[in-house]
């Protein structure tokens, strides 16, 4: 009965959309709460404590409900349609990333042939959303924030893509599922396998730095530098439109970590587990790896100072891109030689 229903394309599509729509707020809550608690720990504070009882676990739920109750304010001079569409576009780019993440053997919303390429392409939609938000607010802080964000996202999109090319060369496929299989079967069927972080360590480091910049998190948060730009392109947003940006950031943090975990850390695969065991354990293994990377991102945020705008551009154009290109050449030569 259920199998019959699921074989219908539209029913299956609706189910998949619902699952993604449910997963994103959950991931946002988990990552957001981890951020609150870990930052508190790193600053010798207690962090949220009262909401929901002992650990303050309901803090972000309360915050979310508060956002929904607020008035939906659009500034007088703002370009209304663009102002209103921008947050939706940013969230759309975040949602679309989830489509290609493989959670287990065959457990993927859609295993695209060009998987990892799709993920990098679709995230550029968010860039447009950020620029729209910055411009439509009719506020100088917003505009400067939007411009900084766009300049940064363009600069760091290149190392992000180039870092992944090394993995694609090694795996011989762009499908994320295929990349996981390539890592699991590196030394033949049933072998120990090889997570690509070992041969592609340079690529992994570049990917994580560029991912941090794509997320505009500290040390790359010039676009929303509070001390000079109020809140950058987010300044004029309030209520649930602000919540959209907020959710998109945490969702992107999870999704980009999941892509990094899949491309470099073996994704849902763990040595010693059979295919059928992976079907059940896969999602848990992936989430565990993602959480390690998310922890790294939060750790960076509370330990590093902010980069200046010129330092930020120098890092991307003069260091990360050349190193990524050398990495590609080296990987290509090794692929041919071995």
């Amino acid at each position: 009965m259920i199998a019959d229903l699921l074989s219908n394309f539209w029913v299956l599509l609706a189910v998949k959309v619902l699952i993604v729509a449910a997963l994103i707020p959950v991931a946002g809550l988990v990552v957001g709460f981890a951020e609150l608690k870990l930052s508190a720990k790193m600053q010798s504070r207690v962090g949220p404590y009262f909401a929901g009882g002992r650990w303050g676990w309901a803090q972000l739920l309360a915050d979310g409900i508060k956002f929904f109750q607020k008035e939906d304010i659009v500034p007088e001079n703002a370009d209304r349609p663009v102002f209103k569409i921008a947050p939706a576009l940013v969230l759309m780019g975040a949602v679309a990333l989830w489509v290609v993440i493989p959670w287990g053997p065959g457990l993927v919303f859609r295993d695209l042939d060009v998987g990892i390429f799709y993920a990098l392409a679709i995230s550029s939609i968010s860039t447009i959303g950020v620029l729209m938000a910055g411009w439509a607010s009719a506020n100088k802080y917003s505009l400067i924030g939007g411009l900084r964000a766009a300049g940064q996202l363009i600069a760091y999109e290149l190392p992000l893509v180039l870092a992944v090319v090394g993995v694609v060369i090694m795996a011989g496929t762009m499908s994320l599922e295929g990349i996981v299989r390539a890592q699991a079967g590196w030394f033949g069927e049933g072998g120990p396998g090889l997570p690509f972080v070992i041969p592609q360590f340079v690529g992994f480091v570049i990917f994580m730095i560029a991912a941090l910049a794509e997320l505009t998190r500290i040390p790359f948060d010039m676009p929303i530098a509070e001390s000079e730009l109020v809140m950058g392109y987010l300044t004029e947003y309030s209520g649930f439109r602000f919540l959209f940006f907020f959710l998109a950031e945490f969702s992107n943090m999870f999704a980009l970590s999941a892509i990094a975990a899949t491309a470099f850390l073996g994704g849902y695969w763990m040595p010693g587990l059979t295919e059928s065991q992976l079907t059940f354990a896969g999602p848990l293994i992936l989430v565990a790896k993602v959480m390690v990377l998310v922890f790294l991102m939060i750790w960076f945020r509370w330990t590093f100072p902010r980069l200046r705008e010129d330092q930020l551009q120098t890092l991307a154009w003069k260091w990360l891109i050349p190193i990524a290109l050398v990495n590609i050449v080296a990987t290509g030569i090794l692929k041919v030689v071995i």
Partner: protein, 184 residues
């Protein structure tokens, strides 16, 4: 094939919807009174074209379009517009009435040439393999095998254009100016 046959296939509804959306957005690109709106309608147009490529099961081309055109070219457009002058609201100076006949001739001519060549090239042969996934490796092998020479030539031309652009835009300081700047 009659129109009623054509329209009875669901894939053609999607095509019709996308094509009309692309046309409408393209029309708004040229008629919009606000330069940022025009660029945003260009995003919609390109997204629609990417959708048409997906419909032809050319996934890779579709996502290249999204990454390069939406993610880089239009973002640079917007960047350039916003860094110079981008008022919200209407910009009356944007509508250039005197150039309209020239623009009409150029665009109609381009439309004529493109449609004539594609109709002549394909005549009434159906495109094979629509609806099947196009493996990206075949595309890669074609680009770096049979078409490697044109591919490299295009790359070379782009590089030359890039270097030319930098040389034109950048003006090195004369020794005297450099001295003045050093003194300040």
């Amino acid at each position: 094939m009659s129109f009623s046959d054509w329209i009875s296939q669901p894939v053609n509804w999607v095509f019709l919807g996308l094509a009309l959306a692309v046309l409408a957005a393209g029309f708004r690109v040229v008629t919009s009174q606000n330069v940022v709106h025009a660029a945003l309608f260009l995003v919609a147009t390109l997204a629609g074209v990417a959708g048409l490529f997906v419909l032809l099961s050319a996934e890779f081309v579709a996502w290249v379009l999204v990454l390069v055109y939406i993610g880089a070219v239009v973002v640079l457009f917007l960047f350039g517009i916003m860094i110079t002058r981008a008022p919200t609201g209407q910009d009356v100076g944007l509508d250039n009435r005197r150039a309209r006949p020239v623009a009409a001739v150029v665009s109609l001519g381009l439309f004529g040439v493109l449609s004539w060549t594609s109709v002549r090239a394909f005549q009434d042969t159906a495109v094979a393999g629509v609806g099947e996934r196009t493996p990206t490796d075949i595309l890669g092998e074609a680009l770096l095998g049979r078409f490697v020479f044109p591919f490299e030539v295009v790359g070379f031309v782009l590089l030359a254009a890039l270097i030319g652009g930098i040389t034109l835009a950048r003006r090195d300081l004369t020794p005297k100016e450099e001295e003045e700047r050093g003194a300040v």
